[in-house]
C-alpha cells in the first residue's frame, strides 16, 4: 500500500510547522553588508535613551557602515540577563559593565582584551580619567574602557533645614551630627522624614569602611564580625528604629528618592545620578560629603564599555567602545544631558559639568574621590549580597541584633568562599 495523500499532507504539515519555526533563530547570525553591532546597557534606560541615541547619531556619522542597535534592561535584571545571554552564546557585541561585576566577567574570559589597541593610541589613553581606567584593568590587561563614573554623597533639602533651624551639613560632620540632625528634622505631623540610607549590603561595605571596619582582612580571613562593623550596622539601623527613616512598609512601594523629591525627606544618601531628576525639585537643595565616623569613605561607581570575547565584529566594536568612552563628542552630549560624569580628562568638558546647577557644591563629587572604597572582591557576589541583605532586613525588623547578624554573616561568607 502506498502512503495515502493524506499521510503526505500530514507529514508536509509537520515539516512545514518545524520549518517555519527554525529560521527565526538564524537571522541574527547572518552577516550583512553594513556592520551592525548590538550594545547592551542598563544606565541609559529609561531616562537617557534619547541621549544615547544622540551619541549613536554622531558615531554613525563618523563611522559610515557601522550601525549600533541598543538593547536595554533595568539594572535589577541586567546582570542575570547578561549572564544568560553570554551563557546562551547570544552575547551582545558590546555591553556595559559596572565596576562591581567587572572582575567576574573578566576572570571568566567573557571580555576582549583591548590592551594592545589602547597602547597603540596614546592620545586615547590620555583622554580617559586615570583612576577610572585603572579600575577596569584586570591581571595587567585592559578589559574595558570607563564611560562614566559616579559616587554617592549626602543630599539635603535646604528649605527643610532652614525651617527646622538646623545648620547645613559640612565636611566635618560625623555620624553623630547626622543622627542629631535627623532627629531634629523628623516631623511626623507633616510627614517629613529626617534621613534615609538603604540598609543593604551595598551600603554596608561603605559605611563599615567609614568606621575602619574591614570585611575581609588582607590574609583572607573574614572579619565582618568585628566591633567596628557591628557599630556600623547599628548606625545604619538606628534611624529606622528611631523613626527618622521610613521602613519598607512606610514606603509601601514609593521610592525613597520620590519622597525626597516631594520635599518629604530632609537628607538622603544617594548617587549623583539623581542630579537630573532632583533638578526638578521645587525646593533648594545641595550636596555634602558623607559624614563618616573615624574616617571618610565614599562609593565609587564606574560604568565601563566592554567588548564580548565572542564577537566577530571587533573593529566596529572597538570603534564604538572608544567613542563612547573617550570622545569629546560623547562626553559633551553626556554633560549636556546631565547624565552622570564622563570619565574624561578634558578640562573644558569637566568645567562645563561643574558650571551646572543645582547643586551648587559640585566640587564635593571630586572631593569624594579622595576616599573611595570598592566592594570586597567576592567571586559569588550575587549570593553573598542576597544572603546579607536578608540578614540586614531581619535586623531592621528587630528579629536579630546587629552583632548576631554579622556573626551569622561571617559564617555565610566563609561557607560561600569555601565552595
Amino acid at each position: 500500500m502506498k502512503a495515502s495523500p493524506s499521510t503526505k499532507r500530514l507529514l508536509l504539515t509537520l515539516f512545514a510547522v518545524i520549518g517555519i519555526l527554525t529560521p527565526a533563530a538564524g537571522v541574527a547570525a547572518v552577516a550583512q553588508d553594513a556592520t551592525e553591532i548590538t550594545y547592551f546597557t542598563f544606565s541609559a534606560a529609561p531616562d537617557q535613551l534619547e541621549t544615547l541615541d544622540a551619541m549613536i547619531a554622531v558615531f554613525e556619522e563618523q563611522n559610515p557602515g557601522i550601525t549600533v542597535n541598543v538593547e536595554t534592561a533595568p539594572f535589577g535584571d541586567y546582570f542575570t540577563e547578561l549572564q544568560t545571554r553570554i551563557a546562551g552564546g547570544d552575547a551582545p557585541d558590546v555591553f556595559e559593565l559596572n565596576y562591581e561585576n567587572f572582575v567576574t566577567y573578566a576572570s571568566r574570559g567573557a571580555l576582549l582584551d583591548v590592551t594592545d589597541r589602547l597602547e597603540a593610541d596614546p592620545d586615547l589613553a590620555a583622554a580617559i580619567y586615570p583612576k577610572a581606567l585603572e579600575a577596569f584593568n584586570f591581571d595587567g590587561a585592559q578589559y574595558g574602557l570607563p564611560a562614566s563614573f559616579s559616587n554617592v554623597v549626602l543630599f539635603y533639602n535646604k528649605d527643610l533645614f532652614d525651617a527646622a533651624g538646623v545648620e547645613y551639613p559640612t565636611a566635618e560632620w560625623t555620624w553623630e551630627d547626622e543622627l542629631a540632625a535627623g532627629e531634629q528634622l523628623t516631623n511626623p505631623d507633616q510627614g517629613v522624614w529626617g534621613m534615609n540610607a538603604p540598609v543593604t549590603y551595598n551600603e554596608f561595605y561603605k559605611t563599615a569602611a567609614q568606621n575602619g571596619c574591614e570585611i575581609v582582612a588582607d590574609d583572607g580571613t573574614v572579619t565582618i564580625d568585628q566591633p567596628e562593623c557591628v557599630e556600623a550596622l547599628q548606625f545604619m539601623v538606628d534611624p529606622v528604629a528611631n523613626g527618622y527613616q521610613p521602613t519598607e512598609a512606610d514606603l509601601s512601594g514609593i521610592g525613597d528618592t520620590d519622597l525626597f523629591l516631594q520635599g518629604d525627606m530632609a537628607m538622603i544618601t544617594t548617587g549623583i545620578w539623581m542630579f537630573p531628576q532632583f533638578s526638578e525639585a521645587e525646593f533648594a537643595w545641595d550636596i555634602a560629603l558623607e559624614p563618616g565616623n573615624t574616617t571618610k569613605a565614599h562609593h565609587f561607581f564606574s560604568n565601563a564599555v566592554a567588548i564580548s570575547s565572542e564577537t566577530d565584529k571587533v573593529d566596529a566594536a572597538w570603534a564604538w567602545q572608544s567613542f563612547l568612552s573617550a570622545s569629546p563628542e560623547a562626553a559633551e552630549i553626556r554633560v549636556g544631558a546631565n547624565w552622570e560624569l564622563p570619565a574624561v580628562t578634558d578640562q573644558s568638558v569637566l568645567d562645563s559639568w561643574m558650571g551646572q546647577t543645582p547643586p551648587d557644591s559640585r566640587e564635593v563629587v571630586f572631593e569624594a574621590l579622595d576616599s573611595l572604597v570598592t566592594p570586597p572582591p567576592f567571586t559569588n557576589q550575587a549570593l553573598i549580597q542576597d544572603e546579607l541583605d536578608v540578614l540586614f532586613e531581619r535586623v531592621v525588623a528587630g528579629d536579630l541584633s546587629a552583632e548576631d547578624a554579622l556573626a551569622e554573616a561571617k559564617v555565610t561568607i566563609e561557607g560561600v568562599l569555601s565552595e
Binding site: 500500500m1 499521510t7 509537520l14 542575570t80 549572564q83 544568560t84 553570554i86 551563557a87 571568566r108 574570559g109 567573557a110 521602613t247 519598607e248 512598609a249 512606610d250 509601601s252 512601594g253 559569588n380 550575587a382 549570593l383 542576597d386 544572603e387 536578608v390 532586613e393 531581619r394 525588623a397 528579629d399 565552595e419
Partner: protein, 293 residues
C-alpha cells in the same frame, strides 16, 4: 509475507508514535536523565563543568536556606490546602442547586482561574499595598488597622496563601461540583422522607459519597503546592527577611542568579522525591480506605 506485513505494521506504528515520542525523548526524558547527572557537577555555564561527586547533596543537608524554603513550602501547603478545600466545598454545596443567575455567578468564580498567575499576583500585590491598597482600606472601614502584608515577615506568607486561594477556588469548586452531581438524587429523597435535616444529609450522604473527590482534590492540591513559584516570585521574591522563600524559588535563584546549575538540579530532585512520596502515600491510603469500605 508475514514479514512484509510485519514491517508495514511496524512502519504504521512508527508513524503514529514517533512524532510524540521523539519530542518526549528530547525534551522530557533526556533532560530528566541529564538532570540526574548534573547533580554530581557544579557548573556556572561560563567555565567548564566541575565534577563534585555527592558534594551537592552534602551541601544541601547543611544549607539553612534550603531547609527554610522547605519549611515555608510546607507552611504554604498547611495554610492553603485546607482553606481552599473548605471554601471551595462550601461554594460548591451552595451552587449545587437551582438559583437565579446561576451561570453568571459560576462564571465569576472562573475569572481568576483563567487569568494568568502573573496578572493575578500583580493585582494582589497592589490590593495588599499597606497604605494605598484596597484590603487595608476595607479593613480600616470596619475599624481594623491592617498589617503591612507583603512587607511584614509574619504576614507575607498569609497574603500569598490568600491570593492563591482566591485564584484556585473556582478550579477546586468545579471538581467538587462534578463530584456532587454524580451523587444519585434518590439518596437525598429517601433521607428527606425520613425527615433528615440539611446537616444530617450533609454528614451522612454528601461527605461520605464525596470522599473520593475530596481525597483526589487534596492530593492534587498538595502536589501542585509543592511547586508554588510564580506568586512568590512576583509578590515577594522570597522576602521580606527571606520569610517566603520556597523550593522552586531556590531552584531558580541557584540556577540563574548564582550560576549553580548542579546545586539547582539537586534541589529539584529532592522536590521530585517529596512529590513521589506524597503520591505513594495517596495510593497506600486509597487501598487502605478501599479495604475498609
Amino acid at each position: 509475507m508475514v514479514g512484509d506485513r510485519g514491517w508495514r505494521h511496524a512502519a504504521w506504528v512508527a508513524l503514529f508514535v514517533l512524532p510524540g515520542f521523539s519530542a518526549l525523548l528530547v525534551f522530557i526524558i533526556g533532560p530528566i536523565l541529564a538532570s540526574l547527572v548534573l547533580t554530581l557537577y557544579e557548573w556556572d555555564l561560563l567555565t567548564d563543568p566541575r565534577f563534585v561527586g555527592i558534594d551537592n547533596f552534602r551541601r544541601l543537608i547543611s544549607d539553612d536556606d534550603f531547609w527554610a524554603a522547605f519549611r515555608h513550602t510546607i507552611g504554604y501547603i498547611v495554610g492553603y490546602v485546607p482553606l481552599v478545600m473548605v471554601s471551595a466545598l462550601a461554594v460548591a454545596l451552595a451552587l449545587n442547586a437551582r438559583m437565579p443567575a446561576l451561570g453568571a455567578i459560576r462564571t465569576a468564580f472562573f475569572l481568576p482561574v483563567v487569568s494568568s498567575w502573573v496578572a493575578v499576583a500583580l493585582l494582589w500585590t497592589w490590593m495588599f499595598n499597606p497604605r494605598f491598597g484596597l484590603i487595608n482600606y476595607a479593613l480600616g472601614l470596619i475599624g481594623i488597622d491592617g498589617p503591612a502584608w507583603l512587607y511584614d515577615s509574619q504576614w507575607a506568607m498569609p497574603a500569598i496563601i490568600l491570593t492563591s486561594v482566591w485564584k484556585d477556588l473556582g478550579f477546586v469548586m468545579v471538581v467538587f461540583l462534578a463530584g456532587l452531581q454524580s451523587i444519585p438524587h434518590d439518596y437525598y429523597e429517601a433521607a428527606s422522607l425520613d425527615g433528615a435535616s440539611w446537616w444530617e444529609r450533609l454528614r451522612s450522604i454528601t461527605l461520605p459519597l464525596l470522599a473520593p473527590t475530596t481525597f483526589f482534590v487534596a492530593i492534587i492540591s498538595i502536589i501542585n503546592s509543592f511547586q508554588v513559584f510564580t506568586q512568590v516570585w512576583i509578590m515577594t521574591e522570597g522576602g521580606p527577611s527571606g520569610s517566603t522563600t520556597v523550593l522552586v524559588e531556590r531552584i531558580v535563584k541557584h540556577a540563574f542568579s548564582y550560576g549553580e546549575m548542579g546545586y539547582a538540579a539537586t534541589i529539584s530532585w529532592v522536590l521530585c522525591l517529596v512529590i513521589f512520596a506524597v503520591t505513594l502515600m495517596q495510593q497506600r491510603l486509597q487501598r487502605w480506605s478501599a479495604a475498609y469500605d
